[in-house]
Symmetry: D2
Subunit: 344 residues, 4 copies
């Protein structure tokens, strides 16, 4: 049994980790921390977990976490980097769902996140936890930087195209729509149902923190810098991300691209290329760790359109984190993640 | 492996059965029928099932179903009763999610459902599949009449009170709210998102088909006829039922009633009595087979208020059907049903 | 032109007042206050008002408000009572949308609202602003206590029954469902879309602040104390209240009751009794000042069911406030309120 | 008083016309037709109109419509063209909200709409009813082809750019999101709340009927053919369209473009260019005839992003139709259209 700790168990990624790990046969949830709710039973805060979790929130300190084999950070940005060195020094693996270790360029990180990095030396050790790209590195990693939700959906959609130089890297567009749970469990006016229900808007068009993360990932695959326009939108639903990706083709045919996508992901249990002509729907991955993708070439023109959907809290956060854990500990990659989407 | 057939696999209860049974380790889904979609892969209609179900829709005929150990009917009312005798004659157990065998009085059935009953002789053999009430009878049943969604939520809330004569049976009120998936997967104007979204209404106040079913169940428990006012409402969400039940107390104290509920359901894995002062929320049972209940006595007055929530498609339909199957075949009662609600 | 001031212009009732008053031909919006947003253009905070409102938020002080003929308080409870005396002394009429002057019993007020009342002497002068009940008193009032949203829907549904002694006052039940805008524009976890969307729950079953207000109003009409069980619920939509009211009949026939309701409200422009057999739907009053009501007697039994719907922000708040203003200033009662509900 | 007829009064654009026209002081709604509901009071079908409309549905025939000055067609495609010649011959003006007269190329029309055109000779007489583009022609038109909802949002966003040759016409992208009311009031599985609620998807990526309409309009303005990739999406809300438009800049600066947009629309009462840095939100135009637009140049790069929102049923259909009527009859352009969006 792997002994697991969750730091920051009261946010949506924290409770989603608990939903998955509580039914994971190879895992024991040993520690769940919450500074604000220490002493409270976890299922008092989350009645959906009644009968499945006996844990009590504890304060986040190294001594308590010392009993764990792996610690997940489901914390706001800037927390994991404060505790990472001590935990790693004790041989405890870390899976960070926040952004602390996602960007390789520490100065760019500081610009976007507005703080000094607490342990820049660890950044190069951190493995970017996108298994479809970094599976082998993940297996032996001590510190995982889990991708953001937008970056997961966008990268999985662009990957086969960039690996094979099929589109012009100077004109990438990612028009992405997210459910409101992506904003987290925070008391903010903008996330009220009266503000977000029955309405649709773009936000942060001039620069969202996931932009450098996506650009870094795409450049790595393309072998050169890419020019990406990334426009995130808020859509009036709770879970789900839908990425609509646009690229300028350099000549390939749609049939070949479809075949290429199918081949690229044929051994990936969590990436599913739909038949030609399909339109993935976020409901079909709600609650599951799947990414569903389809490819279109409207009017046979030069612009290729890739549609990529995930559940932002699962493949975009907690599910992918558990997928990483499975790889790090030599478990079946889909252990605890065989969950069918909740439709309708 | 139990070989399972599903007749009517294209409605919401059908696809929900598939979601549950595809991951049930003791079951093989052998047949899924749909007259309209025969020949089509099930996962072509329901992409959420891709990777989990290989079945192809077949036409519903006895010969095909003959290979099954048990057949679920997730059909409109009036279908199961046409095939029941032949299946039972071949030793195939039946779990009917429709209303064909729910009412013991065949004339009342005809009045409410507007048709002649095709096999009235079977009605007395049918066991009403509410495990919390009829567990032993279910174990040896050949034919199960699965309760409706409203009746499940209402009966579980009233049960302990009526078993112990704690409320006046002449003034029962059930004010119940359902998500729109209860209307089924049918192309009807009234179920459009533009009609039901962002709006709330009561319907069928003068008589809903679940009224005689609930009244029959409550009378059986009370040992006398009951007078019930049942007002169903449509609430703008997809899944979930919230029953607000009102009864006039004949003297018992809230603390004692709370203790009584806890004791009554202490061995029930799917009924969860919340601590005093709680308000169950349908989100906390979404996708799970749980019923969560709380009891209130506002202002210490004579009126007791019971709040009871379920997911209408799980404990109110497919989940309860699988719970029945588990009992009929001697499996763990919660096999395939250990699913945590999807929150948020 | 009536010069209007709005204290607390940044909540949902405030912006709803602005939506209505900006198009009211007899009114000029002279002052809109907001301590937090003073100096900001109103339409910078509320782009829906662009082109209709030129006002700038100012700090709420008596001198600024002195130019007004009437001041609306769309503030949290406890604010209006701090400024009421000074404004009244200057001859400025007050329409308070908060709860400060709703309860006649100041000690009961303190119990429910958790503070001392700042000007108990004014309470008896305040007129409860339900025009269908108090029209004449409103016309000459200086200080209006606008009813709460729940109390409006519930009282309009029970009124004709209690005025005519048709139901037993000892067993009144009000099972009421509200959209989430009723919680106001406040950054609170419980009002996040991820918390309230796709979910339904009761809350405050043991005692909601609107209970004493409703009970006071019903007792006044009935001429005796009433026993009311009031259970509020939160439904996943933004606007709308649906009250389902239950009373025990003392003998009257449904046809007579229907006729009585129609007669009682025949001259009320904002109360609409639907034909027998109807089910009012909150969408049909969304954005309008209407209350739609229907009456049912399920199975011809003893329990009468009244369904009453309003838009909580209009007839339940800002619309009713303007209706009061129209009466106070001798305008057409529906001036500025001829708005058709937004369907779909 | 202008006597108005509405053919097809039972769809969402029909009832939206009624909502607007019932309060339009210069108009009398003389005829509302519905073959299926002839003889029924309009407000029996639409209780939101109770008290505002006394009309009864009649069958759609020329004799009845003969009393009208103008007839609106809120019908499925293929109906208006059957009656247009006869009505025009009698001097009755026509405002067609369907697609019958939108495309100038009749063969292209037949390809996209799958039928022969019934009166191709009228096509050249029809004026495309986008007032911001064709105001003068509209004033003297007898037959108006009202733009589709997507085309309205997209064209208003691209117009100033194309009129001034600021973007490359070979790489236009319109990623557009619509609420579900755009699918109309039809009993279709895909429009059920259980299918569309809490989910997001693209559809018709390979070719939507609004594509040729948009391309025709943009080409006219640009003075040359344009290459447009148009991807429509369905978003889980009832009303609203959000267009996210991408163009490759040929050198202009953002400040200049902002100024250009402001100048282009400064006299347009229904097009509102937001301050730099803004993100329009569909809720801010819900129920109103406004289009709100903002312009962004992310990272100062070559890709310009225009955000354009409308209410699909108002500026995208019924409101724009009334705007056209006002122009045709010499009324104030905003008569009957001074409506503030319903927020929240």
């Amino acid at each position: 049994m792997i002994r697991v700790g969750i730091v920051g168990g009261t946010g949506y990624t924290g409770v989603e980790l608990l939903r998955i790990l509580a039914l994971h046969s190879g895992v024991e949830v040993a520690v769940v921390t919450s500074r604000a709710d220490a002493g409270l039973r976890v299922d008092a805060l989350y009645p959906s977990l009644r009968g499945y979790i006996n844990a009590v929130f504890s304060t986040p300190d190294i001594e308590t976490l010392d009993q764990c084999d792996v610690v997940f950070f489901a914390t706001p940005n800037g927390t994991a980097m404060q505790m990472a060195e001590q935990l790693l020094a004790r041989g405890i693996k870390i899976i960070d769902l926040s952004a602390d270790f996602r960007l390789k360029d520490v100065q760019e990180w500081s610009r976007w996140y507005g703080m000094e990095h607490a342990c820049p030396d660890l950044i190069s050790d951190a493995v970017y936890g996108l298994p479809e790209l970094n599976r082998e590195a993940i297996k032996s990693a001590q510190l995982i930087a889990c991708p953001g939700c937008y970056p997961t959906a966008v990268q999985l959609g662009f990957l086969p195209l960039l690996e094979n130089n099929l589109i012009n890297v100077d004109h990438l567009i990612a028009d992405v729509k997210s459910g409101v749970s992506g904003a987290g469990r925070k008391a903010e006016l903008a996330a009220l149902m009266s503000e977000t229900g029955e309405s649709f808007k773009a936000y942060a068009v001039n620069g969202h923190r996931h932009l450098p993360e996506i650009a870094q990932g795409l450049a790595l695959v393309a072998g050169q810098p890419v020019s990406l326009t990334f426009v995130p939108h808020l859509t009036p639903m709770i879970r789900g991300i839908h990425a609509t990706l646009y690229g300028q083709l350099s000549g390939a045919k749609l049939d070949d691209i479809q075949a290429l996508f199918e081949q690229r992901y044929q051994n990936e249990v969590f990436v599913d290329v739909l038949p030609q002509g399909s339109h993935p729907d976020t409901r079909n991955v709600r609650g599951s760790n799947q990414c569903q993708i389809s490819i279109h070439q409207p009017q046979g023109g030069q612009t290729l359109v890739v549609l990529s959907v995930i559940d932002n809290l699962v493949k975009g956060a907690a599910g992918q984190a558990v997928q990483n854990m499975n790889l790090m500990f030599g478990l079946q990659e889909d252990a605890g993640l065989k969950v069918i989407a909740l439709y309708p």
